[in-house]
Amino acid sequence: MMSALGFFGRALLARPRFAVGYAIVALVVLAALFAPWVAPYSPVEANPNEFLELPSRAHLFGTDAVGMDIFSRAITAPRIDLTIAILGTLLSSVVGTALGALVGFYSVGRGPKVWLSFAVMRAADVLQAFPVFVFAIALVAALGQSIETVVLAIAFVNMPIYLRLMRSQVLSIRAMRYVEAAKVAGVSDATTIRRHIIPNAIAPVLAQLSINVGWGILLTSALSFVGAGVRAPTPEWGSMISMGFQNVVTGQWWPSVFPGLSLAITVFGFSLVGASIEMLSDPARRQTLAQEMERRNARAAARQLVKAGI
């Protein structure tokens, strides 16, 4: 374990952009956890005596059209955005992974299970044929505007990704000797899938998780921007941008720009983390990185020697 952590630490040093990614994510998570204690003002309280004030010491990011403190709202927003995105992503990955494993396992041969697998895949095709955003809006319109619906929308639009990912993994794993051995030994299908297939197919799914959390935040914000996501005045980046963008024309840029920056930086952070997980979970690329780090160490050692005049 120590060596894995050590490797991880050294990998971050070798690829500083990943370190930036983890730092951003850590910051966002900290904001989500501690915002109520850190925020200088209530994020939902209008104060008509201080509307559209420029960023200042009293209001770091300024105030919006009804006098709510933008800094307090921007740092409280991850509580909503992150929660929705994580819940949506987890839901989609759990359901998608389970379904994907079943569909992959039962995709060859005949019988009702195979037909069912086929039907599930076609249903996923239909889901994916819709533009993600349009589908999410339609879902929110049908189920009503609430945080739960946005979670469901994210889960729905992401599920086919996990389904396909898992299925393609399972298709190759189910032909492995150890799976055949399990079958021959009389192990039930359920146990085979649970004990032998899923654990060996899960790595790419984990890499996908982080990227999807970033997308989930983006989708939540986009839905709120068009008015289909969370309700005002819940602090949420997309809805803040939407509430503030009319002011940009008349010169008050801060109500939109700060939540916009927060959103962009957060999604960027999650993408970097996703990329790092993808790299670290790929044995070939991990080895390249390890070799690179060794070469670098060797060069550094050589320089030391030269310096010492040896």
Binding site: V44, E45, A46, N47, P48, N49, F51, A65, V66, G67, M68, Q145, G227, R231, A232, P233, M243, Q246, N247, V249, T250, G251
Partner: protein
Amino acid sequence: MSDRDAGSGFPQNRRQFLRNSAALGGASLAAGAAALPGPALAQGASDTLVVASPATPQGLDIEFDVSLGSIDTLGALYEYMLGYEKMADPHAPGVMREDTGVHPDKPNGLALKGKLAESWEVTPDGRKATFKLREGVKSNWGNTFTAKDVKWTWDRKFNLKGQGLFQTAVLGLHTPDQIKIEGDHAISFNLEKPNPLLLKQQCNLANPIYDSVKCAQAGGKDDPWAVKFLKNDSAGFGPYRLKQLLRGQQAVFEARDDYWGDKPAMKRVIMKEVPTSASRLSLLDGGAVDIAQFLQPRELQSLKGSKTVAVDAVNASYMIWLELNAAIKPFDNIDVRRAFNYAIPQDEIIRTIYYGYADKQTAPMPYIYPMADTSFFDYNLNLDKAKALLGKAGLGGGFSTTISYNAGDPTQEPIALLIQTSLRKIGVTITLEKLPAGVFYEAVTKRQKPVIFYLDSPWTPDPGYSMYLYFNQKSYVDYSNYKNDRVDQLITEGLETLDDKIRQQKYTEVQKILMSEAPWGFLAYPKYTMARKAGLKGFTYYTSNNLRFQDFSRA
């Protein structure tokens, strides 16, 4: 818009065209600009008026279309029987408005002037009005105006049963026979009961007179009321004719040389569709248009101090309020409705959201209308009083409810946020529900939301007309489900007498009751604003909140 148009009417290459379009400040304008001959956008053309509007007319027939773009074209294309005298606006220098007040010294107590009707007479019992019609008036199709045109116009309302049905009902007209031709140039309206609206309705924007000869000819046998024709073209006696209507892009009007009255100074009017207010603002600021309609208060504020652009803001018939649904708990309780009103931060709404381009709503009808009485308004922000009233209603611990608002109106969300914060202080938890514009109007008419915003204006400057619309339980527009038999009775009695003293007495009592029972959450009287080039003169305000292009001229 085709490329062919761009090639023939606008001799310039693609790059120049794009550059010019960009300079004009909006991609939305670019499509339409291709069809304009050069001078229309250049500012040398002093007799061309260019208006940036949120929308071009969808239809031109008031029977079926009362959208923003449509109501701005009616006064230009059509003529009316009567009009109000104009007077200088007492608060806005250089602006004219209709004199809609009570004038005991004038015939019928009104400051009216004849338009298609040259003179008129109402019998002492108030049940019959006879109009002597102007002779020698030509329509935009060259047909001569006669009594048949007036008759046909009202017959059309009875037959089509669109919004005209309301116009007949409000006058107490039950059959077309009540409107009688009394000669080639004379017509009478015959009522069962006296009606103080009889003359006022002749000025209403919704009652333009049609050229019946052209309509019959254009409609033929299949379409005797020329519904298809009047949707896309006009047949009237107004100062302009329609030259072109490209929905979603522009409408072009041309002044008529054979118009009976004063010839308009603006010979050509181009109404361009520019949906976003920010683009309209930049077009006006950049000098590309003469008028930018319906700018947001903050945008108007940003024009202050400009040398090239002027903003007129006049007291108007607009009202914005919250429908407190009396059929949904706890708003069935008068104390709760009163408490709600005491918690509305009206002053802050006027200052923060409207930047002063509105006044506090202090009466249940437009404050500019005759007999409006603002003295019963007592709802200045007072959270202690609000809390006490909630306690009296058994809701001392507060309650939860939802306020629904229109996503299409950028002022409603911030107003809702201010109210939410204020009510939170007395324990009332508000959920905000943002509804897309289409769904919003349906929600208002269905009357199933506990609290919903509404912005409206009763066009006829009359207390009975206005309060009948919103508070009579038989009215379709009583969206707050308010029911009070005494109020109904008083409103109706006031609509059956011509005696202004009696009317005043009754409508004062109605306003007193309404203010104390608070069927609405009273918010604001938004002003009608005109953002125009500084050199454009003649803006006149009408209670139907529309433009009439013939009013404008250049200094």
